[in-house]
Amino acid sequence: MNGPGPNETAMRKAEPRAERADGAPSAPPGRSTGEVLLAVENVSLRFGGVKAISDVSFDIRKGEVRAIIGPNGAGKTSMLNVINGFYHPQDGRITFKGETRSKMRPSVAAAQGIARTFQNVALFKGMTTLDNIMTGRALKMRRGFFWQLWRHGPAMAEEVEHRKFVEEIIDFLDIEAVRKVPVGKLPYGLQKRVELGRALAMEPELLLLDEPMAGMNLEEKEDMCRFILDVNNEFGTTVALIEHDMGVVMDLSDRVVVLEYGRKIADGTPDEVKRDQKVIDAYLGVAH
């Protein structure tokens, strides 16, 4: 989907999906057999003595919704930071779209098409919603410094073109009303949506969502689930999701990897993982 902006039709609101018995939208089966987009092979990450991640391997296939779950402090966010190139693992390898990555800065990961939202919203408080999402287009905008000085010629044309794309995202996320409002003034739920909008503006191939529904009420959660599924179906973006709400995880994701104290204890479809004894012990605690 990293060609020119998507055509008009694809952005139409997604029609209602085939409802599952318990009313939550379900992912189409069989998608987790596509070619591997991201492979994490025995990655370990240490901060001084603390082992945040130890020898974890899993893969994320193109087009699937991959969930990463585990109790607090299991290393989920650290794993995202490793994928994002923010932390550099002491050992292990990460291959993205077939090429193994050497030591890398986050901006290079972004250039390769990895976008990210954050556990506690990391928006640019000094700017409006529109500016925040337009900043997501930073990688796509090419007009050089001297055109920016003049602004009225091609630089303005480029601004307008990217503004059009951003407007579609704003429609998609229903945040037209708060377009010119400084982000700092928005309620928490809307800020999460703007952050998703900013990530989408980067037209990513892999979208990392760090607890997108934390602190949301039921109605907001359903909206966010709809957005995630629409993004996955309409744009075909692969989604890696960290979430604590088991209902959401089980319904949205094609496959789930479970981490505990930095180690992988389970990996498979939601049903397999739900019945895995180790996962139950990890969550419900074991009397031993």
Binding site: N84, F86, R105, P106, S107, A109, A110, A111, A115, R116, F118, A122, L123, F124, K125, G126, M127, D131, M134, T135, G136, R137, A138, L139, M141, R143, F145, Q148, L149, W150, R151, H152, A155, M156, E159, V160, R163, K164, E167, R198, M202
Partner: protein, 357 residues
């Protein structure tokens, strides 16, 4: 009633992104530019060369520093040093090539200080916040030491200072002793207006957004693909360019000659306070800040003779210091986000006038 946006709808994105969406704003701007242009024919020489020219030059330096402190969140205390680089570069250029028009050299000298600024901006990747002030302070003191220690910079003048030669523009003297205040004012006005417009373009475009992203949360900015070092260095370079041009304007069109003492640390502090009091991250705020910190003391000094009181010059000076200090604290309490925010709230009130909300 007179400041309403009802009935002004935007049909294209370009119109919506315009810097002055409201018609009243555009009219207001046109009126102010017209006033600025007719000022030379109305105001006396004192008003021009002791109040307006310094105000515009300080405003330009404040805009430069605002791009760095207000828009990119990088604290710098080296402004006077970079202004010095601009002034000395312009002096050397006009001595080597005297026949090139002086205004060209004033703008070109900005590139030299942009280079020096970027060089001293390098530590900004590793050091953050108040600690970064040290790197720029090192620049300030080192540059000031160079201005005294390298005679080549001031053409080995015995006096150790730059002496500005007479240069003309369209046949009229612009620098040197017989340059009239009106000519000097018009050149300064032109340069400041041009650079303010360019700053506005920069700040509203892609570059301005990446600066503000780096200011608000540089980790998130990096994760979006904004490379931190080039963005920060560009901020340092553009900011130093503005300071360099302001320095060249100050020496050539205002002072007429300059000792290294002119580019001292006090000047850097003065401009930093103009930025912050004017309003971080606002170009209009830079003008307000310059007006409050530079023009106010002069205005205060003119008050006693108005009422016929003859207070000793020194006491007037002391009183001015106290009043300016108290006013600064007062303004901050009234509006911590600087005069620009006061201006916006004022406009907001105008919009709902005469109703309270």
């Amino acid at each position: 009633m007179l400041y309403r946006e009802t009935g002004q709808f935007k049909t294209t994105y370009a119109a919506d992104m315009a810097v002055f969406p409201l018609r009243q704003d555009r009219i207001g701007l046109a009126v102010i530019l017209a006033a600025a242009l007719t000022l030379p024919f109305v105001a006396g020489e004192y008003m021009l060369s002791a109040v307006m020219i310094p105000l515009l030059i300080f405003a330009l330096a404040t805009i430069g520093l605002n791009l760095l402190v207000g828009y990119t969140g990088l604290l710098s205390l080296g402004t006077a040093g970079f202004m010095g680089v601009g002034a000395y570069a312009c002096y050397k250029l006009t001595t080597f090539f005297p026949d090139v028009n002086i205004v060209v050299w004033i703008l070109v000298s900005g590139f030299f200080s942009a280079g020096v600024g970027a060089l001293f901006g390098l530590p900004s990747l590793r050091i953050k916040g108040f600690y970064l002030a040290v790197a720029t302070l090192a620049a300030q003191f080192f540059l000031q030491w160079c201005f005294t220690r390298i005679p080549w910079l001031y053409n080995n003048n015995i006096s150790g200072a730059i002496e500005v030669p007479g240069r003309t523009l369209f046949g009229e003297f612009v620098t040197g002793p017989n340059a009239s205040a009106e000519m000097r004012y018009l050149v300064v006005l032109a340069v400041v207006a041009l650079l303010t417009w360019i700053a506005s373009n920069l700040v509203h475009g892609r570059i301005g957004r990446s600066w503000m992203a780096v200011r608000d949360m540089d980790i998130a900015a990096e994760l979006i693909g904004i490379r931190l070092l080039p963005t920060k260095l560009l901020a340092f370079a553009v900011s130093s360019f503005y300071c360099g041009v302001a320095g060249a304007l100050m020496v050539f069109l205002w002072y007429g000659s300059a000792e290294p003492e002119v580019f001292s640390i006090n000047q850097s502090f003065l401009i930093l306070f103009m930025v912050i009091i004017g309003g971080l991250g606002s170009l209009i705020g830079s003008f307000f800040g310059a007006a409050l910190i530079y023009v106010l003391p002069i205005a205060l000094k003119a008050v006693p003779p108005l009422f016929g009181l003859s207070i000793a010059a020194a006491t007037v000076e002391h009183m001015t210091f106290m009043i300016v200090g108290a006013l600064i604290i007062g303004f901050l309490i009234a509006e911590p986000h600087g005069l620009a925010r006061l201006w916006q709230t004022g406009k907001q009130k105008l919009r709902t006038w005469p109703f309270p909300y």
